[in-house]
Structure formats: C-alpha cells, structure tokens
Symmetry: C2
C-alpha cells in the first residue's frame, strides 16, 4: 500500500494510543487508585476521551480516509487494507453521526444516574432510580434517531456491541430457545436437589486459590509475559497492547467458584486479545470483533472447558493436593456435579449455564419496551418479577436482587445484555466446529493439553481481530449465522448426564 | 478574574491532564507492566507526549495567554492569577523556543543512548557509551543555543530543573563548601572506623520492613488516602493529582537502609505535592517549584528528621519490637551511630550525608566541561577518577562504579545533578527557619509529633506550588539566597557529636 493508506494508519494508531492510555487509567482506577484520586482521574479520563473523539471526528481523519480509499480501492475484501478502511469508516460514521452536545449530555446523565442507581440499589428503592433512568432513556432515544436504524431504535444500540445484529434477530433467537431452557430448568428442579455445592463453600485460602487459578489459565495458554492478574471488585479483562492484556478477579475465602471460574472466564477474553495477528497491532483492527464473539471465548474456557469432565479429570488431583483438607475426601464425580449444579437464582452474575440465558431474556424483553416507551417505568419492577417467575420459577424478594442488580442501564448500556447470551450460543457453535476438526480435543483436555483447541480458536477467530464482523466470522466458520440449537443440545446432554 | 483568564486555565488544565495521564503510564511501567508491554507503552507515551506538546505550543495557547494577559494585567504578583500567567508564559516560551525536529532528534538519541549506556555499564566499557554520549552532547549544545543563556550554555539546562540558577552561582556555592566537606570527611576517616553499620546488614523480613516504613511516614503526615507505596527498581515519587501522590521503594532483605530511608525520602517529595493549595489543583502551579526545593523536602524527612537522635528516641523502641532478634540487644546510641556512619563510597545513591555533595561536585565540574567540549570525551573516566580521589580519597575500581553509574547523561539530563546538592543546602536553611519559629520541634519529634514541622513547611513552601521560584521562596523565607554555611554547620555539629 502507498503513502496515503500509511498516513491513515498512523492517524488511527495515534487515536488508538490515546484510547489505550485511557484504558491504563481505567485499570489503575479499579485496581490501585487511592480514594483521593477519583476527582483527578475523572478529569484526566474526560480529557483523553475528548481528545480521542476530536481526533477521530476531525476533518483531518475524514480526509485521510478519503485519500486512503483512492489507494485501497479494489483491494481484496479479506486484506488488512480493505478491512482497515471498512472498520475506520464504520468507526468514523458512528462517531460523527451523534452531535457532541448529545454525547456530553449522555456522559453527564450517566455519571449522575450511576450515583443515583448505587444509592437506589443500596436502599432497594426503584422509585429513586426512576427519574435518572427516564433521563437516560430520553437521551438514548434521541441518540438512536441520530444513529439511524432500519427496524427498531434498539438496533442502533445493539450495533455498538454486536455490529449487524438487530432486535428482531435477537428476539427470534431467544424465542427459539426460551422454551427449551424453561423446560430444562423445570425438569431439573422436578428431579429434586440431588446435587450439592456445599463442598465449594468451605474455607479456601486465597493465596492458594490465586496460585491454582493462575496455574490453570497458564496451562490454557494465557501468557503472563504479556499480561498479569490483579484483584478488582468487578472483574474484567483489559487490553493495553497485544503485549499487555490484563485480567482481574475477586477472591472469596468462603467460596471457591468466583475466583476460579472468574479467572478462567477472563483468561478467555485475554487469549482472544493476545492472539490477534501482530500485523494488526495498534490499529483499530487489533481487538475482538464483537462482545458476543468475545463472550464466546470467555464462556468457552470457563464453561465448555473449565466445567467439563475431561478438564477436571486432569485438574482435580491438582486441586485436591492444593486443598487436601477441603477436597481430599471428595471424589471427582461429586466435585464435577457440584460445580455444575443448576439452581435458579436471582443474580445474573452468579447464574449457572442452564439459567443464564433466561436472565438475559428477562432484560432484553424489558429493554425493548424501555426504548419504545411501551411500558411505564414504574411498572418495570413488576414486569421484571413476572417474567422472572415465568422463566425461572422464582420471584426476587427485592428490587436489589431484581431490576436494580445490574449497573448497565445507569451507564447507558442499553443493548449490551443480549451479547452475553449470544456469546453462549456462539461458544457451542464454534466448539462444535473445533471438535469436528479435531475430535481428540476432549482427550487432550483430559491430559492438560489445550494447544489444539486454542490454536483452532486463534487461527479461526483470534488472529482476525476486527477484520470480519461476528456474522461474517460465524458464517465462514460454521456455514450458518448464530444459532441456538447447538447450545441447547450441549446443555441437554450435559445435564442429562448429571441429573439423569 | 474574567472569562479570558478562565479559558486559559481550562486549556492549561487539559494539557496537564494529558501529562498526568502519561505519569500514570510511567508509574505502571515501573511498577506493574509485564515485559511484553514495553513496545505498546512506548508508543502510547510518545503519542501523549506529542499531543501535550502540540497543545502547549499551539497558536490557540498563545492566543489564550495573550488574551488572559489583558485581564490579569496589574494583578498582585503573589496572586494566583499573576503567578499562573507568569508560569504559563515561562512554560510556553521554553516549549516553543526549541524546534520540534530537535526535540524529536533528542528523544530518539536518548532512547538509543539509554540502551547503549545500560550495555556499556554492564560490560564496564566506557568506550561503548562514548559515541552515544557525544551525540547527546552535540544535540544538547544545539538545544542550548535555541534556549538561550546569558553566561554559560549550561545555564539553559539548569533552568529546566532549577529556574533562575546559573552555572556560575552553582560553582560559587560548591567551591564555598567543597573544602569544608573534604576536611570533614578526611577528619572522620583519620579518627578510624569507630562506627559500624554491620547491625543494619542483618536479615530483615521484607513485610515487616514495609509495615514499619509505612508506619513512620504515616506519622510524618504522608496521607495514604491520597497515595500508596509500591515496589520499583529505581524508587521515585509521582503525582497524578493532589489526591493521588504515589511513592515507591525497593526492599533488600539483607540491608535495612534502602527501604527505610528510601521511604522517608520519597514521603518528603510526596508531602510537598500533597500539600499544594487545593485552589491550584490541576493547573501548572500544582507541583513543586524546583528540583532543589523538592529535594530539600525529601532530605529533610530522610536525614534531618529520619537520621536524627530525637526521631529515633521515639522510633527505635518500635523498630526494636519489630525486629527483636536483630535489634533487641542493640542500644539506641549504637543504632544511631550506625545509621549515621560516614564512609566514602563509589556510588552516589548510597552516599552518606557528609560525602553526598562531593559526589555531585565531581559530576557538576565534569558536566561543565562536557557542555563546552573543553575535555575530550575519552578523558572523562580519568577525570572522574582523579576528582574522586581528590575529594573523597578513593578511586573507583571500575567505570561501572565510576563514570558509568548514573542514568542521567544517557537520558539527556545535563544540569540535573546540582539540584541534589542544592536540595541539601536548602534543607539546612529551611529547617533552621522552622526551628527558629518553633524551637520545640526536636522535642516534639522525640515524641513522634511531626505536625508543627510539617505545617511550617506546608504553609511556607508546599502550599505555594510553583507560584514562586526557588530563589523567591528562599529569599522570602530566609532573607538570603541559597547558602552553604548552614549545611556545613549542621554536618560539623552532627558528626562532632558522633565521631568526637
């Protein structure tokens, strides 16, 4: 490629550098920052965000894109150059179509709403949150009009997290497996609680939890030379460069699951980011292509691998020798059943594999109504509880454990939830393909070998970064778009084996 | 003040926010960053540095300064507004007088020189470093011409770290106390090595070292709600905001001094930064006014307080109960003498109070010749060793322990060293004033009370930030410019007491 394309890439990398610098500040805020630093940090982040935004929407960037287009012209669709231009144009369009004044209004409303939400949740008082939520929704509706959409204003938001996805497609996908999930969960419930997870709720030394978790994800292939793990209240994975992709976790000395499966989960996100083609480093292409595809990787390593029988065939003796007092007398099968116990619960982030997508469906259906204004806000808690009872068979005893549990709406993150469920569906689809290509994968996992699986994911998904959309990737890899039947089959087989 | 002044402040704060974001990235690089992150981090820092520089030297900033000047006009010299404008104009002038191309050439030369220096030092091979040093000096000489100076090109560099200071003033100051230091050190040497520091070189548990050090600086008044301490190979203090001023230290399990006195040292820098008037927060005025004044505070809390008999009267029983095996049988006097042992050594960062400024004089005198080119580079190691023998009575056995020990020259930091020595002189001057105002300070220190001393420093120095130059501050506080006699008197009295 010529000079004009190179000039565009230089510009895009500079913008990316500012965003990544901001990422370091965010990480530090969650992991290290003393209380007193909040005000200064907010100012620094606001400045970086403003600078990156101004750089992106500038006439200069527009000109560089136009110039590069004359060079890239008819380059192959799959080429880095054509992909770079596609993504740059998409990012540019998204950033320029909403007036800066509305962006600023939203940022301010979200900051306020976040505080109000935290207070409302602490006091279990939805009414307190209502005006702030109303304000967010009003602004988001205006945003949707600027963004544009073909069918439903919700599509404008979905497109941020899952480019190309629409509300009607999500609805169809969800409706296609809601019934199966409800039946599965009900059937398991009917069989009675033959599985106990009490053994996971003993005292587990935190240093040993850390060492074991890191040993597991190192075996998966998370590269600690290009990352590190720290403690954060709300665990996350964050990328500063391909050489520095960090994960965080939280430890509970009375419960083994959060850190163990949390570490595996974040390592999946991290291996995706560490696995992007080095040729894309520093450009807008160097990151996961959508939240759904990202989640497919975190769920793969957390659940499809990390909660599988082959995995624990290899890992359980090590866990037992790490915690002989707690697990020395517990056999593999009992442990395996414990970590796969299905029990409807109120809180999404604690949900098991069978109930998880039902939590998402409750949120998605309500979000659709929120965006159109089809339901009065004061009815939302009731609607939440009704849906919850209908899908999961239980009613949250409070809004704190119900409609107020998640931070997303207060942060303006409408359209984000479905990507979690899409991630679960994609995991099943991708894993099925990997197994078809390499039927030996489960046997390898049972020997603590993860290279074949990780390499398949790297070659087929990770390395492409954002070159292809989730739809393109899924179609190419599986010959069909995102689908729910494989996930349902996976769950049915898994739980038939456990619950009979 | 009116809108124009406010507009300037907004601009200056934005520039500062970018610099402070870069500071977070620097801190992370020293404290946390995995090896793989180096390349990406360098790119991010380069982008932030470029952005901040472009924002500062822009026509927009020039216009805002000119506009604000019409408003600030005849405001009182001591006012925030007049000070802001003075400092903004000074920063602007300094940034604009050197062409960006030369700045970039220097940055590149320094990056290369740093690598070459590290290699040359490891191999104890000055010749390897010579061409890189030559390149740095050539560029620095060009820089000095752009910067301008009245007497000596060295003044242009000094002015970066100690605004207003000149080579001739430093030379006069140094010449005025070199003889006294040489005599003092020689006299102590003559008396024979009656003081042993072997007791400090036992095994000291690192966690206990950390806890004790943090307890001490918390007592000093370093606010951990607005800071934190971490481990770094080369300890430093760094400011992200008045609410987030961090210190770092390094632990040696076989030697108590580095972490203990290092923590005290950095806490002095940090209390200065934490103590700036909140009204100046986020502006270019919110930081220490010069490296010399900054060092006066680190040396105050490390040496004048932290190595004083009153301090250990209070602290030693606590240290003994922290390390009963190591110190239970060592009396206060023996400990006090051990931490104040004078012994000429090769490495500046390990030097005691009596020899420290002699280390600086060696460097300063050589730097003057380097800048003018008065001495051929290949003669520098010999010159170093000759001066070292003449001032300290010992000859470095290698260049690694001699001319190659410091990172400064490879980083283009010419004119930086004198500020360390000026800091020592200023400590004595400022402390003398504090004692004159509050003769009870030593007694308070002996009871673990540091408020009176810290408050005196806060009110007279810290709160002003960069409003006044080091010269202005010193003149106002002491009625004279920086002076060496008080420091010499302090040392003579201290060591007469110890060595007789």
């Amino acid at each position: 490629m010529g000079e004009k394309y190179q000039a565009l890439v230089v510009r895009l990398k500079e913008i990316r550098n500012v965003d990544r610098a901001a990422a370091v500040l965010h990480w530090d805020q969650q992991v290290n920052m003393p209380r007193g630093g909040a005000r200064g940090r907010a100012a620094q982040l606001a400045t970086l965000s403003k600078i990156a935004h101004e750089m992106l929407i500038s006439d200069e960037t527009a000109r560089l894109i136009a110039d590069a287009e004359t060079e890239v012209g008819s380059a192959d669709y799959d080429s880095v150059e054509a992909s770079m231009l596609r993504v740059a144009k998409r990012d540019f369009r998204k950033s320029t179509c909403v007036p800066s004044s509305l962006v600023a209004e939203l940022a301010e409303a979200e900051t306020l709403a976040h505080e109000v939400w935290a207070e409302a949740r602490a006091q279990d008082h939805f009414g307190k949150f209502l005006p702030a939520l109303q304000r967010i929704l009003d602004l988001k509706r205006r945003e949707a009009e600027f963004r544009g959409y073909s069918e439903h204003p919700y599509d404008a938001f979905l497109d941020d997290y899952e480019p190309g996805m629409t509300a009607s497609r999500v609805k169809k996908l969800f409706d296609a497996h809601k019934g199966a999930l409800v039946s599965l969960v009900a059937a398991i419930k009917e069989r009675g609680d033959g599985v106990s997870d009490a053994l996971l709720r003993q005292t587990y030394d935190i240093d040993k939890q850390r060492a074991f978790g890191e040993q597991m994800v190192r075996a998966y292939g998370y590269d600690f030379e290009r990352g590190r793990q720290d403690v954060a209240v709300h665990p996350f994975c964050i990328t500063f460069s391909q050489g520095d992709v960090r994960i965080t976790t939280r430890y509970n000395s009375d419960y083994l699951n959060p850190a163990l499966f949390g570490t595996m989960h974040e390592s999946g996100h991290a291996m995706y980011e560490q696995g992007v083609d080095p040729a894309l480093e520093g450009t807008p292409l160097s990151r996961g292509t959508s939240l759904g595809v990202h989640e497919s990787q975190s769920r793969l390593w957390e659940n499809f691998v990390g909660r599988s029988r082959p995995f624990w065939t290899w890992a359980y003796p090590q866990l037992q020798s790490t915690f002989p007092d707690q697990l020395g007398g517990v056999d593999l099968e009992t442990f395996y059943r414990a970590i796969n116990r299905v029990a409807p619960s109120f809180v999404r982030v604690e949900a098991d594999e069978a109930t998880y997508n039902l939590h998402i469906m409750v949120r998605f259906e309500i979000e659709l109504d929120l965006v159109t204004g089809a339901v009065p806000l004061e009815k939302v808690p009731q609607l939440w509880n009704e849906k919850f009872e209908s899908y999961l068979g239980i009613v949250p005893p409070s809004n704190k454990l119900g409609v107020l549990q998640d931070v997303h709406w207060s942060s303006g993150l409408i359209g984000y939830f479905p990507t979690y469920a899409i991630g679960n569906l994609l995991t099943a689809q991708f894993y099925r393909q990997a197994l078809a290509a390499h039927p030996s994968i489960p046997d390898e996992i049972a020997q603590g070998k993860f290279d074949t699986l990780r390499e398949w994911m790297r070659v087929n998904i990770y390395q492409h970064g954002r070159k292809f959309t989730a739809d393109e990737l899924t179609q190419r890899l599986t010959g069909e778009p995102v689908e729910c039947s494989y996930f349902i089959t996976y769950l049915q087989e898994k739980y038939r084996d456990i619950y009979g």
